[in-house]
Symmetry: D3
Subunit: 333 residues, 6 copies
Amino acid sequence: MSRPVTLFTGQWADLPFTEMSQMTKDFGYDGIELACWGDHFDVKQALEDDNYCKEKRAALDQLGLQCHAISAHLAGQAVLDNIDSRHQAILPDYVWGDGDPAGVNARAAEELMNSARAAQKFNVEVVNGFTGSSIWHLLYSFPPVPPSMIDAGFDLLAERFNPILDVFGECGVKFALEVHPTEIAFDIHSAHRALEVLEHRPEFGFNFDPSHLIWQGIDPVQFIREFPDRIFHVHIKDASVTLDGRSGINCSHLNFGDPRRGWDFRSPGRGDVDFEEIIRALNVIGYTGPLSIEWEDSGMERTFGATEACEFTKKLDFAPSNVAFDAAFDDKN
Amino acid sequence: MSRPVTLFTGQWADLPFTEMSQMTKDFGYDGIELACWGDHFDVKQALEDDNYCKEKRAALDQLGLQCHAISAHLAGQAVLDNIDSRHQAILPDYVWGDGDPAGVNARAAEELMNSARAAQKFNVEVVNGFTGSSIWHLLYSFPPVPPSMIDAGFDLLAERFNPILDVFGECGVKFALEVHPTEIAFDIHSAHRALEVLEHRPEFGFNFDPSHLIWQGIDPVQFIREFPDRIFHVHIKDASVTLDGRSGINCSHLNFGDPRRGWDFRSPGRGDVDFEEIIRALNVIGYTGPLSIEWEDSGMERTFGATEACEFTKKLDFAPSNVAFDAAFDDKN
Amino acid sequence: MSRPVTLFTGQWADLPFTEMSQMTKDFGYDGIELACWGDHFDVKQALEDDNYCKEKRAALDQLGLQCHAISAHLAGQAVLDNIDSRHQAILPDYVWGDGDPAGVNARAAEELMNSARAAQKFNVEVVNGFTGSSIWHLLYSFPPVPPSMIDAGFDLLAERFNPILDVFGECGVKFALEVHPTEIAFDIHSAHRALEVLEHRPEFGFNFDPSHLIWQGIDPVQFIREFPDRIFHVHIKDASVTLDGRSGINCSHLNFGDPRRGWDFRSPGRGDVDFEEIIRALNVIGYTGPLSIEWEDSGMERTFGATEACEFTKKLDFAPSNVAFDAAFDDKN
Amino acid sequence: MSRPVTLFTGQWADLPFTEMSQMTKDFGYDGIELACWGDHFDVKQALEDDNYCKEKRAALDQLGLQCHAISAHLAGQAVLDNIDSRHQAILPDYVWGDGDPAGVNARAAEELMNSARAAQKFNVEVVNGFTGSSIWHLLYSFPPVPPSMIDAGFDLLAERFNPILDVFGECGVKFALEVHPTEIAFDIHSAHRALEVLEHRPEFGFNFDPSHLIWQGIDPVQFIREFPDRIFHVHIKDASVTLDGRSGINCSHLNFGDPRRGWDFRSPGRGDVDFEEIIRALNVIGYTGPLSIEWEDSGMERTFGATEACEFTKKLDFAPSNVAFDAAFDDKN
Amino acid sequence: MSRPVTLFTGQWADLPFTEMSQMTKDFGYDGIELACWGDHFDVKQALEDDNYCKEKRAALDQLGLQCHAISAHLAGQAVLDNIDSRHQAILPDYVWGDGDPAGVNARAAEELMNSARAAQKFNVEVVNGFTGSSIWHLLYSFPPVPPSMIDAGFDLLAERFNPILDVFGECGVKFALEVHPTEIAFDIHSAHRALEVLEHRPEFGFNFDPSHLIWQGIDPVQFIREFPDRIFHVHIKDASVTLDGRSGINCSHLNFGDPRRGWDFRSPGRGDVDFEEIIRALNVIGYTGPLSIEWEDSGMERTFGATEACEFTKKLDFAPSNVAFDAAFDDKN
Amino acid sequence: MSRPVTLFTGQWADLPFTEMSQMTKDFGYDGIELACWGDHFDVKQALEDDNYCKEKRAALDQLGLQCHAISAHLAGQAVLDNIDSRHQAILPDYVWGDGDPAGVNARAAEELMNSARAAQKFNVEVVNGFTGSSIWHLLYSFPPVPPSMIDAGFDLLAERFNPILDVFGECGVKFALEVHPTEIAFDIHSAHRALEVLEHRPEFGFNFDPSHLIWQGIDPVQFIREFPDRIFHVHIKDASVTLDGRSGINCSHLNFGDPRRGWDFRSPGRGDVDFEEIIRALNVIGYTGPLSIEWEDSGMERTFGATEACEFTKKLDFAPSNVAFDAAFDDKN
């Protein structure tokens, strides 16, 4: 009756699939959300090799691990981004190619389409991912940003993602954007605008992740209430705001894990996210998909953390009521 | 005994100097901080025309207006920024030129050097300004930003600003960076790093402006305490955090004035800045320069606001104690 | 350019109109909102005596007092309320009659229609008022309240107010419900339901009064944002939450002014209402009507308070911006 | 040494006693607080059938379940309430009768007396219950409520409950009013007044339940400190304040479970009640009775919740210190 | 109708009476509270020289300054304190004498009795002052403090102050202890104990000063409510808690004015005291005496501050209501 | 990999070592921090009897209990304190002697030196303890405290502790002052001054205990960050601030456990200390020593508490990360 608790493998891509899936089982998870990088889920092979998906699924079945979604964050990021050297580090060689920005954008879009085709073959209904953004660097409006530059960024979303979403539609797979800084949608109002420019087409929704909202001052529950029919997938990830008068919310170009930052990611339950209210809100909208832990905490050993996070999430989840309370009072005779 | 209250003309550049200076007087100000754009203070003319500074000063004297600083934010912004079309709108034609980025950077650096020379001629000791930043777009570390990319941004500060600061040194003028998003230093820790990379040379300090700190979660008083010998100038500007669960601190690519934003600028005294504590901290470090109002409030008519802000700031300021309290108890006979 | 500041006479009905209007002028107000009780504005006479409105208006004109609204709170209260002895104290004899509840309800409805007719004659566009509520006593759902009982309360609003609002429509006058405990709408969600059941007919809107919202935990600014086209009139009234661990928000059946209460009304500016944000929200929706002070503070002498409140409100109000700030930066040459 | 943890059956009256008591055992409880409705504890049969109490007790003994109190909330509610159709749903037919209000009030009073007699036979020392209130609908003083109307409500408490409490005294049983909205006492100050009007007679005290206090802004610990000798019984029930700027504390006539409400009941430990401080305060006053869980949470499946609540409460409880700490330092040799 | 605003001269004892009284007038005060040190009010002369009080009063009358209280803080401090070198600095030579502790205590007690006699001659009804404390150094119970040591401290209060208060009684003068650290009563519970040990004799009450309570975490309004008949005099003094994570409330042995402290005194209105609520509480208990400013702010020039404080306090004060609000609604005809 | 969890026996000195060590084992601890009083660790015997340390260690080994530190709080307290009758209760007879203050101070210093020698024999590297303070009673600067009196207190620290620390140096043992009220260092700024006056000699550091900081308004994490190389030992002890408007932070001379106090100690996890952040800060500075529970909670039975505290602390601790997260993203092929 409760939701499956899965582990997203994105932060474990240094480990091979075999080891990672066994560890996921050992940590106590019900399932796994495979990243489309490392050898966790190889989109190219999935399309080229007819046995790939079957064997991958069989391996998971043998461990008793469910898989409800694959994740194509890295390819997605390169669809709208202004490409620079950082992208080479996160893309497969055949997508990066010669690194010419327009070519990278195009190949990343193709890769994302292929992730939908692979998802169909692998029999999962959701591909989680990023979109990137051509206007993220305009976040703060100085030098003054004319509205037309912002409009152009959202128009580009429509231009590049409509063809991609067409493929998703054909495959019967949904694309769940993880609302996140550096993406076209990074908060509630920008998420609304993304939906509007895509004319609310049914293939496009969100991978809800509260950790990216909380430090921006956004109530994650409000996000769920704003988009009840667009929560396609859920990440359980926590973050803590550690402002102390001297640190800043924009974090001084300091990397994750530096104690001088104004916020950082945390193992679930050890940050500021109120997961209780999130479960209740998910119950209200009727979300029945996985609770997928994206584990990231620069201050904690990760196998300890992934185990604890699994227990935490299983304890957290509960089913909604099936009884109207006042009814009991009426049975008075 | 109290500090002069001046008005920064940057947001009034649509008005000619003559009208602006008269209004400043009429609003009740003690002085004016002239922007190096519009016709408020023309760096080029100041250097080319030996009478320019004298006539400008005479015009101010006639109105009884002091001038302690000029401001070169726009040229400064173009020194380190990655140049795009937005810069054309904020730069004079002779700096923009053909718009080739490297050329714009170089001409902006030259313009900033000239602002120091002009300041010397105009007999002001401080040029306020921006630096721009070649790494602002890397604010959020995804795709993962290798430390070397951040290092390169600060190295560029040293490379391009050391020659500029040499000119400031020769002119006996200080450069006061307004710590602000999109600049190389936008919070306390990045301000420390900027000072370090410039080896704390004495020509480089800050134009303290609490409005850019408060919404980042930084206590402006802590900024003053961290850099007691580097507060070269002070802007009185307010901001209000208007988070309501749905708005976000990164403001959804919405322009200033949009009520859906998570924060916005405010007329002094109508936001979240605790100016009382700022005055006390300035008293502690012995700052005796002007309190210069940078007036910006998208929700208020500006002549009303500038008048109110002047009254507010004059009432706010007070002198530190010159008596030790316990001493009085001792005079008991 | 700023909004007229008026004084609502409801709490001053122990004073005759002549004295009250002179005091209002002396306190410094721009205008007056006349209560339809005492002799401040006599609906019956206004309809029966063709000179009544003219003379009343002339008396105000002589004092230089504007009048933008009349208020029929007491008659309105008796339209939906379950009538008991308390209503006799607040109703004219000809409305109370024999006190038979159904008759009182009917005569109160007729009186409210007449207030619209009188408003038309007196040339004001808004009648502020209450509706009463047949379901207020069901506020807390124990014994369990079946939804049908709540439905019936809102249906009764439609049944009784549609004919009333027809008269308002004919007269070109609007009815502004002061959202308030004991009325059919007392918070945001009940206000939505009231509008729905009345099918959003244009004659029905709200007299916004933050003092009734703040102690309920509602952000008054949110009310303005929810109903931008329904704010027909604004009351400036303050309240303070004085919970101290022992007092309760429901106030223990203790009367206003008792220090053991959990909240109480306050002279404007001395309570918890953030009027700054309210003015900004009213600027955003384009409200240009009066700011009408409903002065009530059980702990303060009322003539002192009404004077102070007028000054406070005049200082509070300000006009929205008529300049786009970024524009100024563009005039750089 | 720790207190027994019991389950109140009021919200489970749709289940027969046999099933309910077995479930209570299976959930892990030490005992049960039987509601005097459904077939959980039938006051009428208890008085008419000499074996009823013995058999009921034997059934509980067989399960190893303690029973320290029975609860007569529904009959009690009808003693002071102004009767309407809602009461028919919560009263046995022989109390409701023809539904004539005066008759219902009288028969409810008789039923409450009988609950004391039954308690004596069943060998429990406390009957928990409600009183109802004839003045609850006057909660908000508009139309203005003269003090005499409030006085009358409390006088009625004395008039109707003194005879009832006489019976309790004869039976050696205490009546514990659950301080709760719609009762004559719903917060600290009204509880004081109830005690005063009953002249602090020893049969009358309180069933402490923090869930009804917390959303009123009252600190439950203060309640315990105010009435140390009147805490006859304790309910463990939680509530969460969910105000978000748009919802209101009076909840818009929305039923429990609606996410638009400003507060709602919660499974213990998942709301705002600080049970740690409550246990400490109960330790200070020397309360040794049961901690009885009144489980109600519209967002959670109830068997899951009742199990979790039992574990939570057992973990929560602890014994007070029996050592003076400083003493240990003195044994220094 | 409003209360007189007076200035306490304790912190101005470096200035002679003539200059101080003229300044007090010039600052805008209605009156003066004379310190019994410096030459402001010389207790010895007042008793020895029959013209002293007359001439002092005449000098004040000529300036139009009221005087409602004299203050004997320093002598009072030496009555219960364990005497050390610090007391020499605050006592007149004839009280300090040879500095032998027992002798100093005795002479200080005699001086305090004389202050009552002088007050009678000077025709003021209240002497404000301190008591000192023999147990202040036991504030933190380590090494463990046996209760008997605390008892002894309060017993000493009774032993030494009962004879003093006898003289106050004979003179018809009240002693108002300023509840303050280093005194026998420094918070609400210790004030209760002081009253108890003195058996609530009518000559002993308090000089209410919120600045000593606020940083201890005590709500000054609660102090007024606890002791409604013992507020003999009121000091208007403010304090600000400046905890920032590194500073501590016990202030690290750092002197007033050091920015590293966790709290400090502030000019009225510039600290954390909510004077609005204090005025309301004083209105409720019917206090009609002076509001006497004890001005102390290590960060502000004192003549500026004393002037501002006078304006602030005059604006702050207001009379309570003389109208019942609901009454107005009843005059409906 | 995780830190040993030990129990400090100071509050259990009423129990003999044999019983105490067995209980410590039974409670689940990894080790024990022995108090140098009772018979837990007898400094005198340790020096006089060559077998004492061996036997003590053997007894612990047999139970599998580690011991990393001994604690000499009581002797240390008497080194700087102004001696009074309270010290007799906490000192061994041979230290108290005739009670002459100078003699007690001298013998206490000798005892503290001996504790270092005993620690060396017992093979532990840290002696935790107090210093006492000759200036604690001057905490609040009234009568005004001249800076020279404070200086003298810190000078005395140097004078008396330098010889003691010489012995510690010779023995290769560190002295860890528990920063605590009544000690020379009781907060961050006084701890800095203590280090300065001792010229940062390496034998002197701190036994970090958050319970003494939290109620002073100090962030314990800031303490760790200020003194990263001086955290020689860690106490896990909690405290709760229970201010309610009437209680005060200085606690009214009321003993621990009195509910009228403004703060009190709590069993770990039941107070206000944020241990999560403390563990993370300890991870950052690389502290690898024990987490030693000093259990004190006047409201809880101590064996229950000590057991719970052990579980809490073991669950709390975790190892820092050994993987850079971004690294995983790079392994994309």
